[in-house]
Symmetry: C2
Subunit: 372 residues, 2 copies
């Protein structure tokens, strides 16, 4: 006897792996004949890099991007060669051996990294790398001046096998922003200076800026996971995540009673509250206090007061009591109230809702679309 | 050869276990002869429940609180009986067997849970429980009406061995808030109605409201981990957490260059930027964008523009270049800029900074104070 983990979990997180694969394939078709990699950094944006990457590899993806060497090392345990794993953060001095051992491709971001990696490449009889040119983020990548100094040498075969030249758009989610065209033009001109190296500029939102941004391959991340790559326009991607929070208790409250920490919410009429076992420690951001909501049977139930570490309180006065009872659930993310909607209530972006998804949820991975 | 995880980590999170034990002992002394439990829910507020709980048990703590049954099950693997583990969320229908098997004490929050647990207790020849009376949170716990209906029966020995009556303060971090005294008086009157059961009202901030709030034992959490239990007053607790973010790249930028996503920051003069491998996926909340800061050698370096998923950019123009170089670090949390300071910049509370601390950091646990 006894309960299964799902039966006692504070929340159930449902990840549609088939949907992630379908999103990837839809982007493949959109950008053809350009190629399509997949970005699975930050544990595949919180959804579980092992499961997500295996599903994407099964769908045909052959190039994956992570942020750190450790993410790459872990991913190599799931994805065998010839699948390529590239590391955005590049290689720290002293870590070249791990890149060689696990066949990771560093994205080299500054001249010092290039010098160090060339030394490693000479020692190892040649090694692959990508080169990151900054075109307008001032974050990672060579400056234009640094790039100009080395671009001639990139054309000459050497110990480093240049696998790709990449850059990253700062404002791709704002199609009208002038920086998009500025970055595209800078990148196109860099490409012209170096010849045949594969080039990649667009991540999720960049793909939707049009063919001029595809270059040789694109690198979607967020769009694979259902974040809208075109904020303000209809979301062309399948939603991937559903989240249900467990109802621990239903409570009748009187008019005038205060709710939660700081007594910042006061009931304007008597009602019925549901206390759910999801809080900011589960990534249900505290900035959702007073503004977030859940759903029961598609009907909105407002979140009242401040979110606690492990708990949140919802007003279920308008819900049939038979549908809101202890042990049951409130939908926190679904088809309609998706990560972008939650992000709007939390004053952030869907990406942060995803990467915040907590460790206490019971996770269900769906391999086929009909299993929802 | 090759690098150690610490050498290639995106950040180093330093947890002072000796400091946590010292904080607990200081609260023990403060509240004597009342007792002092420890709250280690949410993975000990993000710091690692196993390590933290072992250190607290070593210091003499004999009663621990977690939020969920699964947290209790995991903790029982670290803490053997007679140490007691209580579960705030109570017991869901169907999960009683796990509580019995792992000797977990449920905090019963509503009449239905009491009925179910009494059945389990009868089947098992008696079981312990705590009872939660809500005195002003409207979150978990019996209402006053529900409590009044059963308080007489609590005095009679039965299958449930009542281990404690607890309640929780809504506004303990605001000493002048009238709800504190209201809740104290309600709790004192409930205690008078039931006789000899041990009673507990105060968590971290409640302890600093004075002796009238101690009752039989207190339940600190945040204060153990260095959060100031008295916002606005000097912090009496030792700081527990230090966090350093790895510098990936140093970049010279011109006046007029924009920084980060959305190009929301523009350099008003030429300068030098450090890109650090910590982002909102590491719990460095996106709401710190434009407002957060780091330290190098104690000197403040402002965070510029928006925080990315895996990266943040700091202005190190005023720092000696020899002290800000790739592979080095920027202090993100230290003695001066602590979790409360970061929380103020992020428009939240220190608790959320703690529980958000990410999984990609290399974690160092210090057992002795002189190891800093």
């Amino acid at each position: 006897m006894g309960s299964e983990p799902a039966e006692r979990a504070c929340g159930i997180l449902d990840v549609d792996l088939a949907g992630i694969a379908a999103n990837w394939r839809s982007l493949v078709r959109r950008v053809e004949p350009a190629g399509c990699a997949a970005v699975v950094k930050a544990d595949a944006y919180g959804l579980g890099a092992h499961r997500v990457s295996a599903a994407l590899a099964q769908a045909g993806c052959r190039l994956f991007f992570v942020a750190t060497a450790d993410e790459g090392i872990a991913l190599r345990g799931v994805l065998a060669e010839p699948i390529e794993i590239a590391v955005f953060n590049g290689v720290l001095r002293g870590s070249a051996d791990e890149f060689v051992k696990y066949r990771l491709i560093p994205v080299l971001n500054d001249p010092g990294q290039i010098v160090d990696w060339r030394d490693a490449a000479v020692r190892n009889g040649g090694l692959p790398a990508m080169l990151h040119l900054d075109t307008g983020m001032a974050r990672l990548g060579l400056t234009a001046r640094e790039f100009d100094r080395i671009s001639e040498r990139l054309k000459v075969p050497g110990a480093i096998g240049w696998r790709a030249l990449i850059s990253h758009l700062a404002c791709a989610d704002e199609p009208a922003h002038p920086l998009n065209e500025t970055q595209r033009a800078r990148f196109a001109s860099a490409r012209a200076a170096i010849g045949a190296m594969p080039c990649s500029l667009a991540a999720s939102s960049g793909i939707f800026l049009g063919r001029g941004f595809y270059f040789d391959f694109v690198r979607p991340g967020a769009a694979l996971y259902g974040v809208n790559p075109q904020p303000g326009a209809p979301n062309p991607m399948r939603r991937i995540v559903r989240l249900k929070g467990r109802i621990l208790q239903i409570r009748e409250v009187d008019r005038g009673e205060s709710v939660g920490y700081g007594a910042t919410h006061t009931m304007v009429r008597a009602g019925r509250l549901a206390t759910v076992a999801v809080g900011y420690a589960d990534g249900w951001l505290r900035s959702l206090s007073h503004r977030g909501s859940g759903r029961i049977g598609g009907k909105r139930v407002p979140l009242l007061g401040r979110i606690s570490m492990d708990l949140a309180v919802f007003d279920v006065s308008e819900i049939d009591p038979a549908r809101a009872c202890p042990g049951g659930f409130i939908d926190l993310l679904d088809e309609d109230y998706d990560v972008d909607a939650a992000a709007a209530d939390a004053d952030t972006i869907g990406y942060e809702i995803l990467t915040g998804l907590g460790r206490r949820y019971h996770r269900i991975y769906r391999d086929a679309a009909d299993q929802w």
